[in-house]
Amino acid sequence: MSATDATILIDEVQVPFAPGQTILEAALSAGVYIPHLCHHPEFEPHGSCKLCSVVVNGRNASACTMKAAAGQEVEVDTPDLHAYRRTLVQMLFVEGNHFCPGCEKSGNCQLQALAYDSEMMTPHFVEFYPRRPVDASHPDVLLDFNRCIQCELCVRASRDIDGKSVFALAGRGMASHIIVNSPTGKLGDTNFSAADKAAHVCPVGAILIKRVGFSTPIGERLYDLEPISEEATRCAVGGEK
């Protein structure tokens, strides 16, 4: 089977795929948007956020972990799946303390952009208002766990790319939380640096470089300029991230 023969159907549209690609990778490469949050092209699929939930040949699947294969008919843009994605985003919002007006990541935040994309007008569910820490001990990087969505990108980046293992995910269920690898548990007592990959992978405002907040005016931020559905596919097709 030649490369041009290998296609899947996504919402009735033929999408080519290369051997080994997941459905999400194939879609994004072809400029077809499937919402996603814990996915990052430089890392192995995680499969935790479930925003990329699709239906493949009638069965539920996560587009980021399922390998593309000939004969697949993938549904992405259905009213059911829209509703599920919106509910998943609402769950993420009520689980943490996501106060957009005061957050330096606003306008560049993938969680927020996905919420706009799914037309979330209200978080709907009862807000948890959890007590989560803020760690400002590091001279250059701020940790605000109110915003953490547990995608583990920082964990993976620190372990696999920076070779430092600064972060880990501890606890079970709703008690899950990121911990820092130092006797005090504080970032300032680690060898973390603002130059680390892990300092730049957070899709939300949980890991922030200090002293650069609000540097881009409202109206000119990443997701002010275009919706995430366009930005994500533009980057994937153009090879940026």
Partner: protein, 594 residues
């Protein structure tokens, strides 16, 4: 500090691999009572892993502690069947006598008391775990006695052995439970058949997994055998965490050679030399007897090198204990746990038969499945397939509990009708039967003629009976608390959704629920079913969906106030401000809406 260091050094002398982290922590904690930050760091350092790796494991498992829990850690099994036997009143009684709040550690007596998920003693509850040892048939008197023993600092080894007596309660034995068994006979039969011959018998038998999923065992074994790679493993899933399930407990207690020989036979067929028994932490009391049995089998050449004299048939078994996490019953989460990590289910595919324990081809089978393999070795696949139904061959062990005269184990050929089981275990006026635990299905009397079989009412074994006066809303709520507690937290829908469902049911129980909560519950159940990462999340909404559909009045009598009720009790939400301002006048209170 020196003593701590000695204990850690002693444990690490026997176990030095990071994959054994869970066992290292468990064994260390058995001596020290908890894992202090210093102990955690010492272990991490010795293993060459970050300290956060150790912390994340300790925080994941319910039975590992990062703070002291007292000399006596008492956990009340909180399955609905325990509650039906009055466990909560006994729990409150103990707290009162020991002057404790739930989960609080007393400085003097060094005791803490809390609740835990079903411990698998549903046929002889209410049950507790005392420092991981199961105590059954709790009564008010027994509670008082235990309080006295705790107050007196009496070592558990000196407590009355009657407390720890666990009965088998085999009420109906069939092919597996009822047969006289000559140790080693199945192994000899398998060796005589040869590896391919034994696999052929497994195919003829059509044996399907007895842990709930029902995957065809022969297919699993063959896939593992054919997977590329040199090392293979056989894992026996003895996590038995589904509330209401206790049949593997009996197999391991009284039929262990059937299980171990089944493992060896699986190893023989797939070409594995190592087996691992993953034993749930709640069955800690079985560890020494099982290890003794393994030793005896080794002495009898039924394990180890050249089993029964067969050259090239080498197989041995290690036991790994769980530490209080229902999710570790899921096969890929179990493998993560065997590798010393938190039990979070993996991305599938690939499946364990190709990429399993340590990335090698691994067969994960339930205890009962492996025991049944010995039947097939002895009597052949065709005989096995001659019992049961066409699509569910052989016999199934049910663990029956709840409102029945004779709780315990009932083995039937597949296809038995639910009403037959109800008749045999001694029931009258049954309102509902929960088959296969909270993740299963709730059946009403109009469904009692249905058959226990994969094609009709499948089950891993749990069979909980609810009499006519039982409140099925409270059953659903108990199950919702269970799922929220046991969710591994990996995926958004289950992590947040199980908590949202639990909270909605608690709100209804509080008399502050409305149709608004019901709508949300149904939506959440569907979302979790469609998008969760594993079976826990996918089935977490089953109880509320089933009970709303079949026991609506149990909900409706609690939905007393219109279409919407505030998220909180507004008057209670003013209590703190009333206290600080020293006010109790009318304007300091909020009444219900006019």
């Amino acid at each position: 500090m020196a003593a701590e260091g000695d204990v850690v050094a002693q444990v690490l002398r026997r176990r030095a691999n990071p994959t054994e982290l869970l066992q290292i922590l468990r064994e260390t904690q058995e001596k020290l009572g908890w894992i202090s930050p210093e102990t955690g760091r010492a272990i991490a350092s010795a293993l060459g892993v970050p300290a956060t790796r150790v912390e994340s494991v300790v925080e994941f498992y319910s039975f590992l502690y990062d703070r002291p829990q007292g000399r006596y850690r008492i956990l009340f099994s909180d399955n609905i069947t325990d509650r039906m036997l009055g466990s909560l009143a006994l729990f409150e009684h103990m707290l009162k006598r020991l002057k404790l709040k739930r989960g609080e550690v007393s400085p003097d007596d060094g005791v803490s008391v809390d609740l835990t998920s079903c411990t698998g003693m549903c046929d002889q509850g209410p049950a507790v775990l005392v420092n991981s040892r199961a105590v059954t048939r709790l009564t008010a008197r027994r509670v008082d006695e235990i309080c006295d023993l705790v107050r007196g600092g009496v070592p558990i080894a000196e407590w009355s052995s009657d407390y720890f007596r666990v009965e088998d309660n085999v009420r109906r034995a069939d092919a597996l439970l009822g047969s006289r068994y000559e140790p080693g006979s199945a192994l000899s039969a398998a060796i005589a058949l040869g590896r391919q011959g034994m696999l052929d018998e497994m195919k003829r038998s059509n044996l399907r997994g007895r842990g709930g999923a029902g995957f065809t065992t022969a297919v699993k074994w063959e896939s593992c055998r054919n997977a590329p790679g040199a090392d293979r493993f056989i894992v026996c899933n003895a996590d038995e965490g589904e509330p209401g399930t206790f049949k593997d407990r009996v197999l391991l207690a009284s039929y262990p050679e059937r299980v171990f020989e089944g493992m060896a036979i699986a190893g023989f067929v797939v070409g594995a030399a190592r087996g691992l028994l993953y034993l749930r932490g709640e069955y800690r009391y079985l560890l020494e007897p099982l290890m003794a049995k393994l030793e005896a089998m080794r002495r009898g050449r039924l394990l180890g090198a050249s089993i029964c004299g067969a050259q090239g048939f080498d197989f041995d078994i290690d036991i790994h204990l769980g530490a209080g996490a229902y999710i570790c019953g899921e096969e890929s989460a179990l493998i993560e746990s065997l590798e010393g990590k938190p039990g979070k289910p993996r991305i599938r595919p690939p499946f364990p038969v190709t990429v399993g324990y340590l990335g090698k081809p691994t067969v994960v089978n339930n205890v009962e499945t492996l025991a049944q393999a010995t039947e097939i070795a002895l009597y052949g696949g065709r005989t096995f397939a001659g019992r049961g139904t066409r699509r569910s061959s052989g016999t199934k062990i049910l663990s029956v509990s709840g409102d029945c005269a004779r709780p315990g184990l009932y083995e039937y050929p597949f296809g038995v009708r639910v009403e037959q089981v109800l008749k045999d275990c001694g029931t009258s006026d049954v309102a509902a039967v929960q088959v296969s635990g909270p993740s299963g299905v709730c059946l009403t009397p109009d469904e009692f003629r249905r058959h226990v079989a994969f094609e009709d009412v499948p089950t891993a074994g749990a069979f909980m009976v609810f009499g006519k006066d039982r409140d099925l809303f409270e059953v659903a709520r108990n199950f919702a608390h269970f799922f929220a507690h046991e969710s591994c937290g990996f995926c958004t829908p289950c992590r947040v959704g199980t908590t949202l469902m639990r909270d909605a049911l608690d709100k209804i129980a509080d008399g502050r629920g409305s149709r608004y909560e019901i709508n949300d519950l149904m939506r959440l159940a569907e979302l979790l079913r469609r998008t969760s990462h594993c079976g826990l999340g996918q089935t977490a909404g089953n109880p509320v969906r089933d009970t709303w559909a079949k026991f609506r009045p149990a909900y409706e009598r609690r939905l007393i106030r219109g279409e919407f009720d505030p998220a909180v009790d507004l008057d209670a939400a003013l209590a703190r401000a009333r206290e600080i301002a020293g006010r109790d006048d009318a304007a300091a209170h909020i009444g219900a809406e006019a």
